[in-house]
Point group: C2
Chain length 144, copies 2
Amino acid sequence: MFDFQSSIQVLRTKGYKLTRPRKRVLEVLAQAQKPVSPYDIQKVLQQRGEHLNHVTIYRILDLFCLLNLAHKVLSFGGFVKCTLGEEEGCHRFMVCRQCGALREFADKALCDEENEIAQDFGFRTEQHFSEGFGLCSNCQGQIF
Amino acid sequence: MFDFQSSIQVLRTKGYKLTRPRKRVLEVLAQAQKPVSPYDIQKVLQQRGEHLNHVTIYRILDLFCLLNLAHKVLSFGGFVKCTLGEEEGCHRFMVCRQCGALREFADKALCDEENEIAQDFGFRTEQHFSEGFGLCSNCQGQIF
DNA sequence: GTTGGTGCAAAGGATTTGCAACTTG
DNA sequence: CAAGTTGCAAATCCTTTGCACCAAC
């Protein structure tokens, strides 16, 4: 989901309550520049004087992923806010292995091609996830 | 890697010892029909009267992934034996959401296309992961 | 015989569960 | 006020580390 308001809309529409913890987690995800773990989120909130139980954060992240308001970044470990509108079943990322910078995109051509390959195996595809791992423009050419 | 023998070759060639635990883990991976966790592997071997320490299994799986003899399936959680030859940097799977059946494939066209999109974002891609989720031929049409 | 590999114990995280208390609509 | 959420305690599971012993080459 692209912005804070539409994320809230999704929650409302699907009958979930708009609670203080959920708002806080949404905010942190929206501001994060890289994938964050449940404990990362807890720490950020701690620094703002807000306390959330880690179990609560886990449950909220589970819900957000279910609703596609957030995604779990598999190669990096951590969660990010979904930055696309409703692109059902297509969640693709570029992840920088150095700084964790992340860019989400959807691409129909890629999905079509994957569907074709899947069919050859007898699979019927419902969801596509992919992650390209490499270096973002900032981290290219840097030597550490 | 495609078969047991060539996996062993890779180990030898790269100067790693061919130990009993490594052979056992290779066997279990080769026979598994779905991604298996380190503890899954330990259980299977237990049933055959073989005991391996779980730490050992973790280390062996790390090594196998390093050598591309196995892959970690991110969305499913677990490891599978690599069924392809050396396809550096391209790890794609179809996973059945019902039974966990898994099919590995590589596809240069997909990688090229992803690279192009990445370039538009200023990213330089080094590795591609993708996991398609859906139903395998066996699970299609079944009602649970 | 070396070197690399394994087993064990233990520590440290990550994640989940059950239930009582609280909030939101 | 009722249903859905949260907080807490604790259990469980996952993963890693350090070091002594052992096995493969």
